[in-house]
Symmetry: C2
Subunit: 137 residues, 2 copies
DNA sequence: AAAGTTTGTGCAACTGAGTTGCAAAGTTAT
DNA sequence: ATAACTTTGCAACTCAGTTGCACAAACTTT
């Protein structure tokens, strides 16, 4: 029972069960986004449905956000401290086509999109594909 | 046997079979992108696998391009005349959260993305979600 | 035009991600 | 401690996408 994890969960109004602490630890250790199938593999013996619902809960409580990077599986990554995952918090995601890792590029702002005047903008999803710094070496 | 469809297929080096002409017609009639399951429903009795392979062929021969709009199903739309679906042809896609239709906003250019210097950019996928002009009425 | 080769189609079966119902186990409140 | 609610684990299922295989259709060669 790591008091740090405990605190983090509570601060987002998530009951800190053992399962949830383990999942949060994996998310922290990982510095790229992770999919449900990948998360499953991090555990010897874990139930897909439980992990699924854990991720859903985390997302609902805005501890993590999800990314559709076009790999077929939705990935999840920790939100940053002040992030509420609202329109103004949107950032670019980068998918490496070599190692298949997805990075949150928090420092890059999504540029303004000018839609046709009769379209109403709600959110923006920007995924850049390429080679990450690790794979370029 | 529509000679127009025939010509269009041949111009992209695709053998103009009856099946392919039918699929192409659907794609032309549609002014939004269409998914494989949606395409299936356009036919009384059509084989999923055949439609699947037809779309794959069309895409390979650059008659259509695919869009990952985060709805869970990949959608396909006709490429424009001179489009070769290379980096410079990339455009924004718009997903209406009311009617679930996906539009190609060809007129909107994807703004420049400045990646960290050790990342290599290959392609950009930008999906904007919101309400389309039809649903706003 | 017939024979042989290549390409396309239809069917069935399967994979893999995501999702749900339900009962047992765990947690919280009274 | 009991009751009420929440979380977990298991099984089963959905749905998009994909593949193998045999048959059909279309091209090629002679």
């Amino acid at each position: 029972m790591n008091p740090e994890l405990d605190k983090k969960l509570k601060s987002k109004n998530i009951r800190p069960t053992a399962m949830r602490q383990l999942v949060l630890q994996v998310l922290i250790d990982q510095n790229t986004a992770i999919s449900l199938p990948e998360l499953e593999q991090k555990f010897e013996k874990a139930d897909k449905a439980t992990l699924y619902r854990t991720l859903k809960t985390f997302e609902e409580k805005r501890l993590i956000h999800h990314i559709e990077d076009g790999t077929g599986a939705v990935k999840y990554a920790l939100c940053h401290e002040k992030c509420n995952c609202h329109l103004e918090d949107l950032h670019v995601h980068f998918l490496c086509t070599k190692c298949n890792q997805t990075y949150c590029l928090d420092e890059i702002q999504i540029p303004d999109i000018k839609l046709p005047s009769d379209f109403l903008l709600e959110s923006v999803n920007l995924v850049v594909k390429g080679i990450c710094s690790n794979c370029k070496k």
